[in-house]
Structure formats: C-alpha cells, structure tokens
Symmetry: C2
C-alpha cells in the first residue's frame, strides 16, 4: 500500500511538472518566441504531451491506483488519499478508453484542419475548410463512442470540460435563458437611448494602455513575484508553476478598452489559479479546477460583475481620465459608465457585450448538437449559422469570415467547450448575488478601489476547494443552488432597465 | 540495421528536443520568470535532465549503437551514418561510465555548495564555503576515477569541455603564454601612457544602451525571426531550437560598454549556433559544437578581434557618438579607441581587458590542477590565489569576495571548464590572422560596418563542420596548425606596442 501511494503521488507530481513545462512552451510561443522557432516548438510540445499521456495511461499507474481502490485497502486510507484515488481512477479510466491511435489521428486531423481554417478564413472560402470540419466531426462522434457516457452522445464531449454537465441540464437553462435575452435585447434596441447611442472612438498608444493594465494588475491583487503581464495576439492565462501564473493581453490602438477588460478577465483566471490549494493537496490531482465553467466564472466575475459595474467605475473613472484626459474630456462618469456598457448586437463573440455574449454561445451549442446529431450537414452549416444569428441577434454575417469561420475552436476539435463560457457567465452572476447578500456594503469597498473582501470571499468559497468538490457542489455550497440562469437574467434586467430607461 | 538506424536517429532527435526544452526553462528562469517560480523551475529542469540522461544511458540505445558499430554492419553504412555511430558510441560509453547514484550525489552536493557559496560571498566568509568545496573536489576526483582517460587525472575533466585536450598540451601553451603576458603587462604598466591613463566614466540610461545593442545585433547579422536580445543578470546565449537562438545582455548604468561588448560576445556565440549544419546532419549528434573552446573562439573573435579593433571603431565611433554626444564630446576617434583598449590589471576575470584576461584563466587552471592533485588544500586556497594574483597581475584581493569567492563556477563543480576561455581567445587570434591573410582588405570592409565576408568565412571554415571534425582538426584545416599561443602573443604585441608607444 505504501509503495502504491508513493508511486501515485510521485506520478501526480511529475505529471504536474510536465503540465508546467508544456505551459511554458506554449506561453513562450505566444509571447516571445522568434517566428522561425515554430516548427521545433510544435515538436517539443508534442513530445511533452506524449510523454505525459504515456504516463497517465501506463499499466503501472493503473495497477497502483486500482490496488488502492480495492475495498479492504481503500477503507484503511486517509480521507485525502481516498479522494485522490477516486479522482485519479476516474481520470485514468477515462484516458484509457481512448486508443493511442485515435489520439494520433485526432492530432493529425486537427493540425491539418487548423491550417485549412486559417487559409479558408483569409480567403473567405468556407469550402476549403468544410471537408476538414467533416472529418473533425466524425472524430468527435468516434470519441463519444469510446466514452459512452449516459444520455446524449454530446454528454461525453461536455464532460471533458464541465464534469457532470449534460445536454438535458443545459437545454433546460438555455431554453429559459435564450428567449429572455432576445426579449431584453429587443426592448433595448427599440429604446430611445439605444437610438441615440453613439459609437465612441478612443485611440490610445500602447504605453498608456500598458500603464493602466499594470495598475489594474496590482489593484486586483496580482503581484510580480508570482505573476507577469505580457502581450500576445489573443489574451490568455497560463500556469507554469503553483507560484508562477502568467497573463497576457493585447494592446489595440483603436480600442484601449480591449486591453483593459481582457486584463481584468485574465486577472480573474490568474487569481483563481493562485488560490488553488497549496497545502497537503499540492501536487495532486485535487489541486486543480473541477471545471472550465467554474474557471470562467472567475474571469467573468471580475470582468463583468466587478469591472463593468458602477461602483468599480466610480473608482476607475478618475484613474482612466488621468490617463486619457482628452478622450474623456466631454464625458461625465455616468456617461462613461453607460458607454462601456453599451449593448450592440454584433457578429463576433469575443467582441460581444455582456447581454448578447451568451446568445453567441447558445448558438454554437445548438449548432454543435445539430452537427453531432447529423441534423445539420457541414454544407448547410453556414446558412444555419446565419439564420440563427438573424433570429437571436438580428444581425447577419455578410461573409463566412465574419460568420462560421470567425474562430479556430472547431478546427481544433474543441466541441463541448463553448457552453462553459455561458456556464461561467451565469455562475458569475450567482456568485455576485450571493456576495452582495453576505456583504451588503461590498459596493462601497469596490467604489474605493478595494477588492480584498471580494477576493477573500472567492478564495474561501471557490478557490480553496480545488477539485475536492465538483463545480456544481461548490456553487451549491456557496449559493444554495446549482446553475440558475434566472439569477443572471435578473441581474441583466436590473442593470439594463436602468441603463436604457426601460420599464 | 534499418531498425537500429531508425532508432538512433529518432533518439537523437528527441534528445535534441529535450535539450531545447531545458534551454527554454533556463532562459525563462534568467529573464522573465517571476521570482517565486524558482523552486518549481528547478524541479522541472531536473525532470527534463533526468529523462534525457535516462535515454542516453539506456540499454536499448546502447544496444542499437553497438549493433551498428559491429564491423560487418558498420562497413555497409554510409559515411554520415558511420560518423554518427562513432560519435554516439563515444558519447554514450562516456555517459555510461558514470553511475546514476554519482550523478545524483553530484547534483545534490553542487546545489548545496551553490547556496553556501552565495551566502559565503555575501558575507565574505570563505570558511562557510570551504567544506562544500572540499566535497565538490572529492567528487571531481571520483569522476576522474570513473573516466580514467590516459595521462593526468584532470584530462578526464578537460575532455568534457574540450575533447582531446590534455594537461600536457595546455601546460606547453600556457607556460609559453604566461611569461609573455606578464612581461608585456609590466612593459605597459611602466609606460608613460599608462601613467597618464585616466579612468573615463560614462553613464547611460538603459534605453540608449538598448538602442545601440539592438543596432549592433542587426549589424552583426542577427535577425529577429531567429534570435532575440533580452536582459539577464549575466549575459548568455542559449539554443532553444535550430532556428531559435537567444542572447541576453545586462545594462549597467555606470558602464554602457559592458552591454555593448557583451552583446558582441554573445552575438558571436549565436552566429555560430545558427551556422551549425542544418542539412542532413540536422537533429544528429554531429550538428553541434565539438568543443567549448571553439565556441568561445567565436564569441571572443567578434568581441576582441573585431569589436575592439581600430577599423571596427572607425565605423562605430560616429554611431556611438550620436548616441552619447555629451560623453564623447571631448574624445577624438583615436582617443576613444585607446580608451576602450585600456589595460588595467584588476581582480575580476569578467571585467578584465584583453591582455590580462588569460592570466586570470591560467591562474584558475593552475589552481584546479593543484586542488585535484591534492597539492593545495581547500584551506590554503585563498592565500595561494592571492599570491598568484600578485605574481601575475600585481594586484591582491583585499577580501575573498573579490578573490577566491568571485564566481560560482567551482560551487557548480565546473572543473576543467576555465581553460576553454583561454583556448577560445587563442583560437580567435589564430582565426583573425588567417582571415586577414586570405582577405587582406577585410579591415576596409569592417571599417564600413560590413561584416558579411567575415561571417561567411567563419561559416564555411568553422560553423558548417559542426561536430564532424574535432576543434583541433577544424583549426588545423583552417589555420594550418593547431592551438598556438604565439599567434595570440604576436597579435597582442602588435596591438599594445602601438597603443602604449612601446618599443
């Protein structure tokens, strides 16, 4: 037993190291790597992920885990060891369901699909991408066949990102949420304020944006001994070690708000990663997030519930105005607050406002289901996409570049991933509701630019649990109920009724 | 045979990947890693080096190499395969001589010794470091016992850095070189010019230093698609992939020449790495340097033979003056050229001028020999150090911080490494002599800030050979003779007789 325990803890620790190394390879690729280094980098990443995968599915590892899981042994284990064994067994059995040949096929297919997508997007030629997408979808179905979770085949895809989530549960929430969002959106677009709403163009050089991002970084509680803020084409957060979590942003000259909000968003991810258990759970499978939805709840919480709130801007408006005195010259704080919360149905998810964002996500979820079920073919996909865009957002892409080709996720085979964006957004609203209930004066603190109570609350309610509980359990323990889109809808109504003078 | 060939080529390729990954981990540690990431980074590096070492000494690998090396098989191999097999067999047999327990003991001992050295240096307490050094030296002797190269035990240490080099050969060169250097130094320090020589203090902000380093970087032929220039406490070059070679420098406010010359030095290393064979030798043991001395010959060539030469500064003086107009206001080009070539015996090797540099190196070599031979004890070491400093350079450290504790090499167990600094310096002079013989007008080109002929010459004579030849063979083929300190002495005499008006 001692031998098996030693083995599985050593193995978890080394798997953690592989993960950190892969993260560094990826971080460098996106930030500082000279362009010609790409080919070799891809080989280096493959090598590390292959070595890690071999460890996960090795017979030795499985043997030790199953030995510890035998009833008479299991009963003698401490509580932590029991949790570790259960989690590991689930993870490893899942990985062992997938033949190595499939992993290889998937990797090759998505590499080609990604290249085809890039070309297709540049040239606006969906046809060029379609046969690759066809293959990717075929492989998704094959994957579901290996996994065979109960219920809808898509459950097997969902489960990789959001353990325990099902199509049935999501459909319940989304079928409630979608019409509410569409209805609110229509009210807004029919309002006088919307009619008068003007686009404001702020231009800002990189240095100014960097200054303000760095100020934010520190204000939100990130410190330079454990975190960095760098630049990359697409903002991301990555964990290289327990005490080395890095975020990136992108400085867009014509839209300094992009770097601002993406810094807040990624800071939310980083604060979570840094808050994961470092005690006796360090270097185990339990010192991790239970789901991407929960992870996204942290970034969306900081980005939206805090970063787009009135109290937040009562602190940040003067800071912003100091950095951009000319641009904000004619705007009072309330005009500015309205401005950064403008609703505007648009084509691209990553540019969407807080209200329309989830409609983009629901659209993807519905399309993924239809594709997996075979009810929509790859050929039909662009027109179904456009129909749904029109139906939900009243905008129609003029080209596939702006539509079905807009992002790379499908080329990479990431089916089942999109819903986590909406799950996280809903969780974020639920958490904020609960926080204000427990700390009715929290908005005062936020208005002073003081976030420590908020962070501490997230630390003790969310972060510290790591993967000892599921996302659902953590949210239930914290908020008294699981995923509930109604809380999100109430939040949106309160916010936008006020902003757009609706009644 | 096909199976064995496939195996050894695949293994070399993956070992190359491990090497690149380790380089990235190291590069990041020295440049961008948040400070708290250090502990985990050290674990990640250990993991990668252990995995790579296990591959090198694996029975499988050895089995395939020896099978290919059997006469009847070997004879059927192509020339490249034959070279690869020979080199691999040598490398692997060498690695297999060392028990894994020893590797581990060495790693633990040097980790502790490094920490002790840091503390000892900060507090100027040699006694604190001495017992650790004692252990390190014991392990060096043990290493020599495993290796058992012919002749002096120290040959086994030398060979790791400079294949084929021996104590006997070095003693021949150094016993010629040392008195010549001391004699020339004494002539200089007795000269009128030396007496009048003034220290010039230039201060420069980082931005200016960065600008000029970046200009240099490009002028010397480095390009941003394959190279980067970053900042670290100690300048270094590292190869992360065949097309991803990075250099660093350090910006010292009180000495902008440090970043200037270190950039030239590291650029020399990087140009060599980028010039290593990329053809059919790519991803083999032959696409590497045969020795650190040869590597250092490239950095010292660019730093000294080019970077401290009169033609080089006839191009760079105006550039420098444009960046530092105030500082260079009162200096004409020849005064500036004299200034950057000032001889000044000093305590610290890394700050030494071109003439005294090798005396520091010879001192270390002699001390290492005495320590390995047991003729000087660890307790006696500081006083022997000081005696020799006085004898060769006429300066005596006032503290051990400036003396025996000045750098970390010994704490890391890098015995046998110092001589490569002198070997590289001598080779550099030989190469420059040969270059000017073959291209008598090369100084004109250099004077125009044009280095392509020089680089091309190094590419075809040195870089392209990789490890298909030994350093000695490469130098012999290029210069008509092996290591010859006399060429270096002649170069120094020519240069310093003119600079100090000697006769």
């Amino acid at each position: 037993m001692k031998e098996s325990l030693d083995f599985i803890y050593k193995e978890q620790k080394e798997l953690g190291k592989f993960g950190g190394i892969a993260s560094l390879l990826g971080w460098d690729q996106m930030t500082y790597m000279p362009s010609a280094g790409g080919e070799e980098r891809s080989d280096q990443l493959s090598l590390i992920s292959r070595l890690a995968h071999e460890r996960v599915i090795s017979d030795d590892f499985y043997h030790h885990i199953t030995r510890l899981n035998e009833q008479h042994t299991y009963e003698t284990l401490g509580k932590k060891d029991q949790m570790v064994v259960k989690r590991l067994l689930d993870d490893v059995e899942k990985s062992r369901k997938i033949p190595s040949s499939f992993v290889e096929k998937m990797s090759k297919t998505t590499t080609l699909a990604y290249m085809a997508w890039q070309e297709a997007k540049t040239q606006n030629k969906y046809k060029h991408f379609a046969p690759h997408l066809e293959k990717v979808i075929g492989l998704q179905r094959e994957y579901c066949d290996y996994m065979r979770l109960p219920g809808h085949p898509y459950n097997s895809l969902l489960d990789d990102y959001e353990e325990g989530m099902t199509v049935a549960k999501l459909q319940t929430e989304f079928s409630f949420l979608k019409p509410k969002l569409v209805e609110l959106l229509q009210k807004i677009t029919a309002s006088k304020r919307y009619e008068k709403q003007q686009e404001l163009s702020i231009k800002a050089d990189k240095i100014k944006q960097q200054e303000i991002s760095m100020f934010l970084f520190q204000k939100l509680g990130l410190t330079h001994d454990k975190t960095r803020l760098d630049e990359s084409a697409h903002p991301f957060t990555t964990t290289i070690g327990d005490d080395d979590v890095r975020i990136t942003t992108n400085y867009n000259h014509d839209n300094p708000l992009f770097s601002f909000f993406s810094t807040v968003h990624e800071a939310g991810h980083a604060l979570y990663e840094l808050g994961l258990p470092q005690n006796e759970l360090k270097d185990t499978v339990l010192s991790d997030t239970p789901s991407l939805g929960l992870h996204e709840s942290q970034s969306r919480f900081w980005e939206n519930m805090i970063g787009r709130s009135e109290p937040f801007w009562s602190y940040f408006y003067p800071v912003f105005k100091k950095t951009y005195p000319d641009e904000l010259r004619l705007m009072d704080p309330i005009t500015w607050y309205r401005f950064i919360n403008q609703v505007k149905p648009s084509l691209i998810r990553v540019e969407a406002d807080e209200l329309t964002y989830c409609l983009h996500v629901i659209l993807r979820f519905e399309l993924e289901l239809l594709l997996i079920e075979g009810k929509v073919t790859v050929t039909e996909l662009p027109s179904v996409w456009n129909q749904k865009m029109n139906e939900y957002l009243s905008v129609v892409p003029q080209t596939d570049q702006e539509g079905v080709l807009q992002d790379m996720h499908w080329s990479g085979g990431d089916f089942g991933y999109f819903p986590t964006y909406a799950i996280g957004t809903i969780y974020a609203a639920q958490l904020y509701y609960q926080l204000t209930k427990e700390h009715p004066k929290i908005t005062n603190e936020i208005g002073w630019g003081e976030f420590s109570t908020t962070l501490q609350w997230l630390r003790t309610h969310i972060h510290c649990h790591g993967r000892t509980l599921t996302a659902d359990e953590i949210i239930k323990n914290t908020c008294g109920e699981g995923l509930n889109a109604n809380v999100f809808v109430t939040y949106l109504k309160d916010k936008y009724y006020q902003l757009y003078d609706l009644s």
